[in-house]
Amino acid sequence: MARDHSLTARDLRKRYGDLDALNGFDLDVEAGTIHGLLGPNGAGKSTAVRALTTLVDLDGGTATVAGHDVRTEPHAVRRSIGLVGQHAAVDEILGGRQNLVMFGRLFGLAKAAARARADELLDSFDLTAAADRPVSTYSGGMRRRLDIAASLILAPAVLFLDEPTTGLDPRARNEVWNTVREIAARGTTVLLTTQYLDEADQMADRISVMNHGRVIASDTPNALKRQLGGDRVVVTLPRAEPLGPAAERLGTAVGGTALVDAETHTLTFEVGAGVVGLAEIVRALDATGIGPEDLLLRRPTLDEVFLSLTNATSSGTAPAADKEVVRR
């Protein structure tokens, strides 16, 4: 029988004092996909991961990981998962190889098998040269790779990564991204939490946006962006051209509203359908005699998606302060 690599969570609840860390958390992750759990600090992402990996008890709800109930079969869940937590949870005094052998033996492998598996993993994570050095001498990226390797010893059905690139430099971040993509390509289901919108956009097949302990939107990255309306045309104006009047004149000409960003000296228009919208803007620029420095057609960013979603669900959240909307 094929292993069940999927994950479902229904109405998960977890309370810490006055705080509902999980407040009706629902999630479906399809087998073999990378699922991004996106949200700000304190949204409940880590609590969700800790509940799904049997580290904390739930106050309510049901969750199944790789076909096993998190609450009634925690041991079976632990056999099917790998967890990469926020800290690189490896022993710093030991070498990389010693770490992997120790964790391998704890996963039930015999000594020889644990050594063989450690060598394999060291090789595929490019750590063989540093295998016998103490982990305290490793770079942040190497430590993270060792940490991920340690969670892959039994080839888990579901791999959890809790903010795996926090604190890493861009190069190390890219290494981790590539690693995770390779893992997913071999059939492991990946649930990845992140505060970085570009990370979720880059990595995930689907994204669930989380706020105040629940998922407020769940879709493919592209569909999420579409939810926010059409594409964007960004008009960069010469510094000599005053933004306000230009925004009004162009806005009137296309029958729309411009988002003004004084810092980059740009006007951003939401347009209906990609190229048609771009053409409209070009005609309006011609008609008003405004000569742009640059013109860019783009999809909405996840930042924009996130801001609009969280503003819709949490009252009192101020819109981005450095941008003002000019109405016609």
Binding site: T53, T54, L55, V56, D57, H75, R78, R79, I81, L83, G85, Q86, H87, A88, A89, V90, D91, E92, I93, L94, G95, Q98, M102, F103, R105, L106, F107, G108, P134, A150
Partner: protein
């Protein structure tokens, strides 16, 4: 069976630490030896113990004190693993829930056995002598290890229940007055009455006095409960401490899931 095996693997991790960073255990051993020499040679002449030399009185006390200081090692090791996420990694793995504590017990008891051996060797070098029989001496060593074992659970509990660095610091600070408020360095009979009353009920005093008795060294206790029942107390205290703190440790470990 599975839990014992996992516990042993976690113990081996600590034993490997000694191999990779031998200076840490060596320094902690040197510290005990220096303390022994300092008190034995420096203060020895000034402290009069009826029925023997000061070194004969001091060494069993130092052994008991060393067992007590082990509490600090246990607490900081537990707190460190919790802080660095290593405890969580263990908890997310398919191993018995007692494995983590068992691993700690194995490593710390091995550490303490080595410490005892070094201190006993050092004591023999500076003139300490065992005058009791071999069976009693063996029982003395067992009582010392029993104290370490009991306090180990205090350390596991403190490390699990209060994960912050401040706990480790508190233990490091408090362990000195508690250790000195005992019969390790001087007989309770030379103290003011109220202080002696407190000192007599310190578990370290019970073990120190019992071990002196069993090694055939001067006990510094001529009357009172320590003179009459030191060995019984040195068994009862560790049993009592373990009976309280082992369940508390198990509870604290379960509370990690809360």
């Amino acid at each position: 069976m599975n839990t014992l095996r996992s516990g042993w693997i976690i113990t081996q991790r600590d034993l490997l630490h000694w191999v990779r960073q031998p200076w840490t255990p060596i320094f902690s051993l040197l510290f005990s030896v220096v303390l022994l020499l300092m008190f034995g040679l420096l203060f020895g002449g000034a402290i009069d113990i009826p029925g023997g030399g000061y070194v004969d009185f001091l060494l069993p006390g130092m052994l008991a004190l060393t067992m007590m200081f082990g509490l600090e090692t246990t607490t900081s090791a537990m707190a460190n693993d919790a802080k660095k996420g290593i405890t969580d990694r263990f908890r997310s793995m398919p191993i018995g829930s007692a494995s983590v504590a068992l691993g700690r017990v194995g490593a710390d008891m091995a550490n303490s056995a080595v410490e005892l051996a070094v201190l006993i060797g050092g004591g023999l070098l500076i003139g300490w002598r065992i005058t009791g029989d071999l069976g009693s001496a063996a029982l003395a060593v067992l009582l010392l290890l029993a104290l370490r074992f009991a306090l180990l659970w205090v350390g596991v509990y403190l490390g699990l229940a209060f994960k912050g660095d401040s706990t480790t610091m508190a233990v490091q600070t408090l362990i000195w007055p508690v250790g000195f408020l005992s019969t390790v360095f001087v007989s309770a009979e030379t103290m003011p009455g109220w202080l002696a009353a407190v000192t007599v009920w310190n578990p370290v005093s019970a073990t120190a006095t019992a071990v002196r008795e069993l090694f055939g060294n001067p006990t510094g206790a001529t009357s009172g409960i320590l003179a009459d029942h030191a060995v019984v107390l040195a068994v009862a205290w560790p049993v009592l401490i373990t009976a309280v703190f082992l369940p508390l440790s198990a509870h604290a470990y379960r509370r990690l899931r809360a």
